[in-house]
């Protein structure tokens, strides 16, 4: 039976894992290679690395970091952040990434996902979307830049576009619940995972084992992604997976 996936996410800037702290900039947490090894040992099912640096130099640091991680790490590694043109995709795959995640690049460069999907196969291309509920428009709106830029696009229409463009997996990050540790947005994730038959990874809001249990019982999402609660040790992956198993969720132990 196919297992549900638990996916820690590393935000990386200038070669270091960082955590965004509201109004206070970034806190450095440590070496991504050490994080990756620790997560493989603790039973993570795969790893996502987002490069949140903005410069060309940051892009190159991220690519060499991917190569370094892949030397000591044998789980699937998805890499994203600043993937804007096909040569960004090329560079990450050449460094050893298993999947490349495209988010705002799909807005900036129409056709990027089609090109990448044609070249590498759709199973290697992850579409990532950030969304927040817009009370004026009365729909879940696609946002970029971590929620700073509103696009005016309905998330359902955008997902349709991403799927048609040729993605093999979708990460849905709900900004409203992100960082709140009060649970995933189950109604939105349930609607999305009912409508599209591709692997959907939920992101934003995980605070406890119960949040993951609810996610997998109440939606068809195939994975759950989180950062701080794993990095801080607030939720230990081995313990989470054993709780999921007790709750009857198919999981790799």
């Amino acid at each position: 039976m196919l297992k549900k996936r638990i996916i820690p996410c590393l935000d990386v800037k200038n070669g270091q894992v960082v955590k965004g702290v509201k109004f206070e900039g970034l806190k450095i947490l440590g070496d991504p290679v050490a994080f990756a090894r620790q997560y493989e040992r603790s039973g993570a099912d795969e790893l996502v690395l987002y490069d949140i640096g903005v410069s060309l130099e940051a892009r190159q640091i991220a690519a060499s970091l991917v190569a370094e991680i892949k030397k000591v790490f044998s789980l699937p590694l998805t890499v994203g952040g600043g993937v804007t043109v096909l040569s960004d995709v090329d560079r990450l795959f050449e460094s050893g990434a298993d999947k490349v995640s495209i988010n705002s690049g799909a807005h900036k460069t129409p056709g990027l996902i089609q090109q990448a999907s044609l070249k590498y196969g759709r199973q290697s291309i992850v579409g990532s979307v950030d969304t927040a509920y817009n009370f004026n428009l009365n729909f879940y709106e696609v946002v970029t830049g971590g929620g700073r830029h509103k696009t005016g696009i309905d998330v359902f229409k955008w997902i349709d576009h991403l799927v048609e463009s040729g993605i093999g997996e979708l990460v849905v990050n709900v900004i409203d619940t992100d960082g709140m540790q009060s649970g995933f947005d189950l109604s939105l994730l349930s609607e999305i995972s009912n409508r599209w038959h591709l692997p959907i990874i939920a992101s934003g809001g995980a605070g406890s084992s119960q949040d993951f249990i609810s996610l997998f019982k109440k939606t068809h999402c195939t994975g759950g992604l989180a950062a701080s609660i794993f990095h801080s040790g607030h939720l230990e992956i081995g313990q989470l997976k054993s709780n999921l198993e007790t709750a009857g969720i198919p999981i790799r132990l």
Partner: protein, 194 residues
Amino acid sequence: MIAIVNYGVGNIMSLKNFLERFDNFVSVTDAPETILMADLVVLPGVGHFGPAMRQLNRSGLAEALGKRHDAGGPILGICLGMQLMFESSLEDPDALGFGWFSGHVDLFSSELITPHMGWNSVLWDGVLADYYFVHSYKVSMDLDENAEIGYASYGEKFPAIIRHKNICGVQFHPEISSNVGITFMKNLMEAWQL
């Protein structure tokens, strides 16, 4: 020396990194003579059945792989690389595979979430273990084989490992299957005395 068959685009660096754990010299090659010479040839899993087979034929790699197969040289096919070892695929009905195993390749039911992506269990060498899969097509076999087969289940049972003498195909990706993938590779190389 391990040779990874390079027959076009795709992300094979991840596989190269993995194989370097088992041999100091891993060559990503499109040279037919290297295919004949290597201790182990790995046919990786990228792209589509038809274009992949056409590219292998055009470049002379298919002929080299055929010669190696006939001479009993070890070959491991991964994902699409496994599928190419069968007769044909629904993905490209006009293209012929190597036909080393009888059977064809078809789609998962449209009711299922595809690609079939993530960890799934396979019973192999008496051990049930989870491997990482990423695929939308799977092998449908005629069951008259002498081969050893390890099955996985997604909607229905399908072959995840097939091995006969020095030819082995795996539908999953050992290179991203953590310790289980490393153990699988070690055991296979031991069985083949590499």
